[in-house]
């Protein structure tokens, strides 16, 4: 009996708005406990929520990049449950009329292209944070996170392996980042994932009983949790056991999932329309304007790089794989229209500095056009290519422009052709044997002569010029 996993996801993504979704407190991450709160988000009696326009714009963008239908009529509901991180004892969310419905996202997993259907995306508010103090036997509540706008992306159960899921999550993260609606920082909790898994025999009409693993906050954890859960459920079923419908959590240390405190019966959230928030209607024009403001998505950029720029697919993948790198690349290409060399210098030299921790893509001390200028200088043989990476390092350290660095370090090649002719004449005169060998067809001695010339002409002429002169003189 071969058991086949079926997996569905709920992804929560915090939106990058300036203020919270239902009040004007700052939506920034962190802060002293309860310092980013007001009577509204701390649930004072008599207060009312007022919906943030930007949050609605952002969920429409998210829906657009995931190919969803955008509802022309959308409304908010109260999800009622008591928990101390939820000051109103209801979460404002959306039930029957979410902003986005019926989308899809294509992924590549195990070398195969797959289409994952999106059931819905809705806009809701985040809850606060609880800190459990062992010593005082108390729980402390901080409501700073209450009211941070969240979108919940619900997929259809279209995944059948951990690899499918991780590819999807990576893709979603990238799409949201490119759309500019979520920073995708899983380690800060701005992107979180709940996974539903069930096992059944392949081709079985009905899905098995599913378990839900909550709050996975790294791609690695998602992959490991799914692998473990597939293992756990198969073992259970194959040994004659039965999977029970429950909520589990992933224990990072052991790599296992564990049942969370069991809920006796299914929660009854008593959803009903929030009477404080009027339903929203959109005009076609409003929706088209929002869609039109979404920047180009990574897939389209990639194919452009491959087709128009002739960049290798693998390199194009690397560039689009990080939004900051990609945007930097495009800026640089605007300044110096030589995408292949810009890409290569980014992927080889800049990424090396970043991977070594010497630089941070978020706060480079120079602009993309400065970087482009450096590549341009190298391509034009204005400096010795081997000096390029040193100039880059100096730029990272000081923030100076490449021209300033080359000036200060006297790296410019003078291109003194008179001197080059003179030196090369002398080299040829000093090495008559080599010259003869070359003229007899022994091409490899060219390298030897070239090496001599390069060494003696360093800084005076570019390798290209030297090569040209040398070739010309050897032919005569």
């Amino acid at each position: 009996m071969k058991l086949h996993p079926t997996i569905g996801l709920e992804i929560h993504a915090e939106l990058l708005t300036e203020s919270k979704v239902f009040c004007s407190c700052s939506a920034e991450f962190g802060g002293d406990p309860n310092s980013r709160c007001c009577p509204v988000c701390s649930g004072m009696p008599g207060t009312l929520p007022v919906l943030n326009k930007k949050a609605v714009e952002f969920i429409i963008k998210a829906g657009y990049v995931m190919n969803c239908d955008i509802s022309r009529f959308t409304k908010w509901d109260r999800k009622n449950y008591f928990y101390p991180d939820l000051p109103k004892a209801y979460q404002i969310s959306q039930m029957p009329r979410p902003v986005c419905l019926d989308g899809y996202v294509d992924i590549v997993s195990d070398g195969e292209e797959k289409r994952i259907r999106i059931n819905r995306i809705h806009l809701e508010e985040d809850a606060g944070k609880l800190i459990h103090d062992e010593r005082t036997k108390q729980t402390l509540a901080d409501y700073n996170r209450c009211g941070i706008p969240l979108i919940e992306i619900v997929t259809e159960p279209d995944f059948h392996s951990a690899a499918d899921v991780t590819a999807f999550v990576e893709k979603i993260r990238l799409l949201l980042q490119y759309a500019g609606v979520c920073d995708g920082r899983m380690e800060q909790g701005s992107l979180r994932c709940d996974v539903n898994i069930s096992l059944a025999e392949k081709g079985a009409k009905e899905l098995g009983t599913r378990a839900e693993i909550k709050n996975l906050n790294s791609v690695r954890a998602i992959g490991r949790a799914i692998e473990y859960e597939i293992y756990r459920q198969s073992e259970l079923i194959e040994s004659g056991g039965r999977v029970i419908q429950e909520t589990r959590r992933f224990v990072d240390g052991s790599g296992e999932t564990a049942a969370m405190r069991s809920k006796e019966d299914a929660q009854d959230y008593r959803y009903f329309p929030d009477p404080d928030i009027p339903p929203i209607v959109f005009t076609e024009e409003e929706i088209e304007n929002i869609k039109g403001s979404v920047p180009e998505m990574p897939e389209s950029r990639k194919s452009r790089y491959v087709k128009e720029y002739g960049i290798a697919e693998k390199d194009a993948d690397s560039i689009i794989g990080n939004k900051l790198v990609c945007f930097f690349f495009e800026e640089a290409v605007k300044a110096y229209d030589s995408p292949k060399s810009v890409a290569s210098f980014i992927l080889v030299e800049l990424m090396r500095r970043i991977n070594l921790g010497e630089a941070d893509m978020n706060k480079l001390p120079f602009e993309a056009k400065d970087f482009a200028r450096l590549v341009e200088i190298m391509d034009g043989n204005k400096i010795n290519r081997s000096h390029g990476k040193n100039v880059l390092r100096a730029m990272l350290e000081s923030g100076k422009t490449p021209d300033t660095v080359c000036d200060e370090e006297a790296l410019w090649i003078k291109e003194d052709l008179g001197q080059a002719e003179e030196v090369i004449d002398k080299i040829l005169a000093d090495n008559p044997k080599a010259v003869e060998q070359y003229r007899n067809g022994e091409q490899k001695v060219f390298g030897f002569l070239m090496g001599q010339a390069n060494r003696q002409l360093k800084g005076a002429a570019s390798p290209n010029a030297i090569k040209e002169i040398l070739e010309k003189k050897l032919k005569n």
């Binding site: 002293d32 007001c38 943030n52 326009k53 009329r97 459990h132 005082t136 108390q138 402390l140 209607v281």
Partner: protein
């Protein structure tokens, strides 16, 4: 027929985070049964609800602009919490993990 039995009352009491003594429970079962019997008069009418026809919708353009304002003074905000300790957090008995 009583509309509400003890199990039903217990269930909605749990949803409401309320609990009742035995005596209260009996009285509440009676009263809630009467109330729900009365509410049941609406069951006889057959009409459908269309949530798009409430006429209370507003335009997207009327939504609040995304501008952060100064938050409230945490001390004043917390002044009604009976926490007896930690200044800047709300305090409750320890939750189980």
């Amino acid at each position: 027929m009583a509309k509400i039995d003890k199990a039903a009352l217990d269930h909605i009491a749990e949803l409401s985070k309320l609990s009742f003594t035995e005596e209260e429970t009996e009285k509440m079962i009676d009263q809630m049964s009467d109330i729900i019997t009365f509410m049941d008069t609406i069951r006889e009418i057959d009409i459908q609800y269309d949530d798009t026809k409430d006429g209370n919708q507003i335009a997207y353009s009327q939504l609040r602009e995304d501008k952060a304002k100064k938050s409230a003074d945490a001390e004043k905000l917390l002044s009604n919490a009976k926490t007896g300790g930690d200044g800047d957090c709300y305090v409750l008995p320890k939750m189980m993990e």
